[in-house]
Amino acid sequence: MSEINNLTIPEIATIEEIKDEIVEVKTFYLKFDARPNGEPPAIKSGQFVMCTVFGAGEFAVSLPPSPQKDRFHLTVRRVGKVTNALHELKVGDKVGIRGPFGNGFPFEEIKGKNIIYVAGGIGLIPLRSSIMHVMQNKDKFGRILLFLGARTPKELMYEYNLKEWKTAPGFETHITIDNPVPGWDGEVGFVHTMLKKKNIPVKDTVAFVCGPPMMFNAVIKELTELGIGEENIISTLERHMKCGIGKCQHCAIGRTLVCTDGPVYTFRQIKTLGEQI
C-alpha cells in the first residue's frame, strides 16, 4: 500500500541552514540529495520522520508545515544523545531521513469549525504545522485562536511567526508566561487559566492541544468544563520510537501504535487507550 521506499534505509539529506530558535532549540533546513531540486517527499501536516544522525542514532521528529511552500526543516530541542549530536552538526553536514510516517491532522473533518490552539513551550512545533495550514486556508474555517504558554519570554518559540500571527486578520493570539518578568507587558499565568478568561467559542469548535503532560491534563480539564466535547479535542502524542512502521512496538499505547495509527488522536481515543500520556 505504501509508496515510501525509505522504510528501512534512510535517504541522505544535506543541512542547508541552521537557525537558532530559543535556548537548546534549533531549526535545520534540509535538502534531499537524491531527489530533483532537493525537494522533500510529499508530506501531510501532523506526520513525522525518523532522522538519522550518522554515528549517533535515530530519533522521531515532527514535520514542518507544507514544505512545498517553505523549505523542508526540522525544529529540534537538545534533549538526549542523538539530538545533542545533531546540534553539533554544521551547515553542509549530512543526515538521514526515513518517512514520512503517521496519519496527520484531520483537516477535512473539521472544515467550517472554529479552531483553538493551545500550546505549551515547544508543543508549538507540531501545532505550528497545523496553524500554517489553517492560515493558508482561512476561508474554510471559523474563528481561529492561539493560546501559547512558555516559562519565560526567552522560551517563546518561532518569534518571527508569532509577530506575523499577532497582526494577521482573523487570528487571535494570546501569549502568556508563567511568572512575571521585568520588561514583559503581556499576560502572566499558566496557559489553561487563560481559556476561561478569554471567552472562547464552544459550539462548533475544535481544540488542538500539545505540550508537556502536566499542562496537557490541566488544559483538557478546562476545555471539557467549558463544554468542548472529548471528540473535538485533538492532540499529537510523543513516544519512544525505533522503526516508524509499526513493528518494533515501542510506541504501543494499549491497542494502538502511535507510529502508524497516530500520532494525531482525539482525546476520546486517548482516554480509551488506558495508559498514561
Binding site: 550518522f54 554515528g55 525505533k242 513493528k247
Partner: protein, 351 residues
C-alpha cells in the same frame, strides 16, 4: 503422504543441506539441553530430543543482527549506506508445531500489516520447513489450550509423524512434494491418515495427565484482558513478582519487539544493529528527556499479556499470540509464566 524408515530420515536433511543451511534440534553434550542450531553434521540432529530451550525464532529474527552498515566522512561529507539483509537459504528440520505457529505469528505480524518489514522478509525468502509431530506432550507445554499442536496443520513443507519404526511424511507445499518425490519415498495409503489421527488424539489425551501447573485455558480470559476488566491489584501482584529480566520475551516464539541502535565500529563507520527487546524493561518506553509513560512494572507487565491474550492483538496474528510452548513458565524466576497469569486472572473472575 509418504513413508520413510527411521534410519533413513536424515536423508531428507542431507538432501536439504545441498541447497540450504540446515538448522535442527541438537542436544548439547555437556548441558544436555536441546538447542535449535545450525547443524553442519546432520548426525547431530536428534528428532526425539526434547523441545529446544530457546525457540527457533532466531532463524527468522536473530537476537542481534546488522541491518545496515554506513560510513560517513565528516571532511568530504560523503555518506555510504550499505543495507545488510540476511537472505541465506535456511531449512528448519524437526520444528515442533508450537514453534512453527510462532513463525506463522511473526509472518502475519511482520508481513501482513500496513507495512512490510524488509529485514524479516529477506530472512523468510528462501526457507524450507520440516515439522515434527509431538506424540507425547512435554511436561511444560500446553499447545492443546492454544490450538497450535500437537501436529502442525499449515505452514510446513514436510511434516513428520513418528509411527514406531518409520515416519509418516506429509507434504504441505509443492516444494515439499517435489523433495519427497526426488527422494523416491514410498507412498502411504489412506489408512495412515487414520493412524495419524489416532496418534494426535492420544497425544492430546496424555496432556491432561502430564500437565500440572501449565493448563492455561486462554480463551477463558480473552474477554477480560481485551476489555481491561481486570482488577489493578491482580496486575500489581503480577508486577511485584516480576524481576524485569526479560527472559519471557526472549524465549517466546511469537514475541517480536526489537530495538535499533547505531554502534560505531571505527571513527567514521557504524553499524545499525537490530536486537531483541522486552516490554518488561524500564527503558522500553522511556523517551529522551526522561519522561516514561510506563514507569511502574505492573503497567509494563500487563502489556505482555495483552499482546498474548487480547482479541485486539489476536487480530494481527489471526490467532492467540500465545502458542503454548510453555517456555515462559519454564524460565520465569518470578513464577509469572503465562499459564500462571491465566490462573490468577481466572481466580479473580471466579471470585
Amino acid at each position: 503422504m509418504y513413508l520413510i524408515k527411521k534410519s533413513q530420515v536424515s536423508d531428507i536433511a542431507k538432501e536439504l543441506q545441498k541447497e540450504y543451511q540446515v538448522y535442527g534440534p541438537v542436544v548439547d553434550k555437556e548441558t544436555k539441553q536441546t538447542m535449535f542450531v545450525k547443524a553442519d553434521d546432520i548426525a547431530e540432529i536428534d528428532l526425539a530430543a526434547p523441545i529446544p530451550a530457546v525457540p527457533p525464532k532466531h532463524t527468522v529474527f536473530p537476537h542481534y543482527e546488522r541491518i545496515m552498515a554506513y560510513n560517513y566522512d565528516p571532511q568530504s561529507k560523503k555518506v555510504d549506506i550499505n543495507p545488510d539483509f540476511d537472505d541465506k537459504p535456511k531449512a528448519l528440520f524437526g520444528l515442533r508445531s508450537c514453534d512453527l505457529t510462532g513463525v506463522i505469528c511473526l509472518d502475519r505480524f511482520y508481513l501482513g500489516q500496513e507495512f512490510v518489514d524488509e529485514v524479516y522478509k529477506n530472512h523468510r525468502k528462501k526457507m524450507f520447513i520440516v515439522t515434527n509431530t509431538c506424540n507425547v506432550p512435554f511436561k511444560q507445554c500446553f499447545c492443546v489450550c492454544t490450538d497450535s499442536g500437537p501436529s502442525a496443520r499449515e505452514g510446513y513443507d514436510l511434516n513428520l509423524t513418528d509411527l514406531g519404526d518409520q515416519y509418516l511424511v506429509e507434504a504441505g507445499s509443492d516444494k515439499g512434494k517435489a523433495l519427497a518425490e526426488k527422494l523416491g519415498l514410498a507412498k502411504a495409503d489412506d489408512s495412515y491418515k487414520k493412524k495419524k489421527e489416532e496418534i494426535v488424539d492420544e497425544s492430546i489425551l496424555k496432556f491432561d495427565s502430564i500437565a500440572k501447573d501449565n493448563k492455561a485455558w486462554v480463551s477463558r480470559v480473552v474477554n477480560r484482558v481485551t476489555t481491561g476488566l481486570i482488577e489493578e491489584k491482580t496486575w500489581e501482584y503480577i508486577g511485584n513478582q516480576c524481576i524485569e529480566c526479560g527472559a519471557c520475551s526472549f524465549v517466546c516464539p511469537s514475541c517480536s519487539c526489537f530495538n535499533i541502535v547505531d554502534s560505531c565500529t571505527s571513527a567514521t563507520a557504524a553499524d545499525r544493529i537490530r536486537t531483541w527487546d522486552s516490554c518488561s524493561y524500564e527503558g522500553y518506553t522511556r523517551m529522551a528527556g526522561g519522561h516514561n509513560p510506563r514507569k511502574p512494572v505492573e503497567d509494563r507487565r500487563s502489556k505482555r499479556f495483552f499482546c498474548k491474550l487480547s482479541y485486539s492483538q489476536s487480530k494481527k496474528y489471526l490467532r492467540p499470540g500465545c502458542v503454548g510452548c510453555g517456555r515462559c513458565q519454564w524460565v520465569c524466576p518470578g513464577d509469572i509464566g503465562l499459564p500462571n497469569v491465566v490462573t490468577y486472572i481466572r481466580r479473580e473472575i471466579q471470585k
